[in-house]
């Protein structure tokens, strides 16, 4: 337990003493929602076939998932920073297991993601009039936490297996493009071609977005959401187990 708290303390110290990190972590999704969301909402209006749901309301879950995706990617990038500093290898000789190290790293960032989600919901409600389903807020926050952790473990695999920073950056850029656009983040899937819908439904970020959308504005089918939630948990667990193995192989 003390090893976990030490990793959390370290992550918190690094973030808390660097204003730019904090700013980016907390306000990035809000800026996205306010600039991108408002722009699309004004230009194109409500998405087709979703009744009286505005684009801002539809996009809210996408913004939250994008935030958890970005936090996970930034946190895994810190492996490169630590490796360049040499502190990465020294930390692996500290009295903690490899899984404690990974979990400790993600706990603080899950906390940031949850705070960020709460802030985004409140500001979305106040500034954009988004109708938030507050009763299911705890489930939404669970979705954010599991989502951030899952994506962190996913990215950690690549950060630990790839040695070169520039290669990792290229890989994450491709991931950003593929995962975000081949999903239900920016648009509803129903009007899209069948092949695209299949690709999006196989995309774990769609599972996370659908959960967040259901718990934030009540859009979606409970049965599908539960199935997607379970699939995401399996995805996150598999990534965690493989990331721990990768950490064991650091030489």
């Amino acid at each position: 337990m003390s090893a976990l708290s030490a990793v959390v303390y370290r992550e918190a110290k690094i973030r808390a003493t660097n204003f730019t990190f904090i700013f980016w972590d907390l306000f990035f999704p809000l800026l996205y929602m306010l600039v991108f969301g408002v722009g699309i909402n004004s230009a194109l209006g409500a998405p087709p076939g979703l009744g009286n749901v505005s684009y801002n309301e539809f996009f809210l879950a996408g913004v939250l998932a994008m935030a958890s995706f970005a936090i996970a990617s930034n946190t895994s990038w810190s492996f490169f920073l630590d490796r360049d500093n040499g502190i990465f290898y020294e930390m692996l000789t500290y009295p903690m297991s490899r899984s404690e190290y990974l979990l400790g790293k993600v706990i603080f960032n899950v906390f940031i993601a949850v705070v960020q989600a709460a802030l985004t919901l409140v500001i979305g409600r106040l500034l954009l009039g988004i109708r938030v389903n507050w009763q299911s807020l705890p489930l939404l926050l669970v979705g954010m936490a599991v989502g951030t952790a899952g994506w962190f473990f996913f990215y950690a695999i690549f950060a630990l297996r790839i040695r070169r920073n520039d290669v990792f950056n290229s890989v994450t850029s491709v991931f950003y493009f593929v995962f975000m656009f081949a999903s239900s983040m920016f648009y509803p899937l129903d009007p899209l071609p069948a092949w695209f819908r299949v690709a999006a439904l196989l995309n774990p970020i769609t599972w996370e977005i659908d959960w967040l959308r259901f718990t934030s504005i009540g859009l979606g089918n409970l049965h599908t959401i539960l199935l997607e939630g379970a699939a995401f948990v399996v995805f996150a667990l598999a990534c965690f187990i493989y990331a721990v193995r990768c950490l064991h192989r650091q030489e």
Binding site: Y9, K13, T93, Y94
Partner: protein, 318 residues
């Protein structure tokens, strides 16, 4: 608990990169290190020192054999091992985004120290390592030398029984290095075991109670300084200072085929492998009819032993 700080048995570490010949970085090592000493691990570049240290500090798993720290296997009981060690690795391992004080306190937290103890020890080390003026600055704003100070200071925050130092004095000025060497000696007197690697042989000669020389992953020689000097029986160091350097001295030295020789201003330094009586004859011949300011004949230094043993090993394995 084991009476040994370190036990290594048939240890092998092979690096096998795809499409390349496997490299046996550690090749069947066997040794034990008693508690409460400074143990030096010496060898030329690529000898396998750092790989051995990486296995012992649980960073790398061995391919074969076992290694134990205070009786705990580095693979099967890695957490127990990590609780009992602290290490300074070759890279300057520091938290760049944290201040000097936060670096020390964060390290203490990882090692399970309570806050008051951590603060008290950090204050003492900040003074000892002359970090007072930099204490609240982020380490990323400090020079390489100061970063190294922070890194080395960290291991004195804790009282782990075994301490690993990989080239600890890199980037340190002579005064600080002397101070750290005194601190290390004091730690050993309190019962800690220190395992160090270094390329600076005078450092090893001064600090180490027991030395293992390795090359190409294999052990070449083991013992304290006196034992190693016996292995290199017949090696002598000669220093001669003339009022002015004789013109023919370079060719005279070359004819002696020394193990090594240096000429600096009016002084020549030689390491010769020969019989005891012959050394005096050589000194007499080199100084005959010349004005000599200083003559010094000594037994072999660690450097001579190191050069002789590793050269011999290279010839044998070629």
């Amino acid at each position: 608990m084991s009476e040994f700080a370190l036990e290594v048995e048939n240890l092998v570490k092979v690096y096998a990169a795809r499409g390349k010949q496997p490299v046996r970085a550690v090749d069947g090592m066997n040794f034990r290190v008693p508690r409460g000493i400074i143990f030096g691990l010496l060898g030329p570049n690529g000898a396998g020192k750092s790989t051995l240290l990486r296995v012992l500090t649980t960073l790398t798993r061995p391919t074969q054999g076992t290694a134990k720290i205070l009786g705990y296997d580095v693979v099967k009981k890695s957490i127990e091992v990590r609780k009992r060690i602290s290490s300074v690795i070759q890279e300057t391992a520091v938290e760049l985004f944290l201040s000097v004080r936060d670096n020390l306190l964060t390290y203490a937290r990882f090692q399970g120290l309570d806050q008051p103890t951590a603060t008290r020890r950090a204050d003492a080390l900040i003074e000892n390592f002359q970090l007072g003026a930099e204490v609240d600055r982020k380490v990323q704003d400090l020079s390489g030398g100061f970063r190294r100070r922070v890194q080395v200071a960290k291991v004195f925050m804790v009282k782990t029984p075994v301490l690993f130092l990989d080239e600890f004095s890199t980037g340190m000025d002579p005064l600080l290095k002397r101070q750290v060497m005194n601190l290390l000696r004091a730690e050993v007197e309190k019962g800690r075991t220190i395992i160090l690697t270094t390329q600076i042989l005078s450092e090893a000669e001064e600090l180490c109670d027991d030395i293992l020389i390795i090359d190409k992953g294999k052990q070449i020689a083991r013992g304290d300084l006196n034992t190693l000097k016996l292995l290199s029986h017949g090696v002598y160091e000669v220093t001669l200072t003339f009022d002015r350097l004789p013109e023919t001295i370079q060719s005279e030295i070359a004819a002696l085929a020394p193990i090594r020789s240096t000429v600096e201003a009016n002084t020549i330094d030689l390491a010769l492998k020969t019989e005891e009586g012959r050394v005096m004859e050589i000194v007499s011949a080199l100084t005959h009819g010349r004005r000599v300011l200083r003559v010094e004949v000594r037994g072999a230094s660690l450097e001579d032993i190191f050069v002789e043993l590793t050269t011999q090993h290279a010839k044998e394995t070629a």
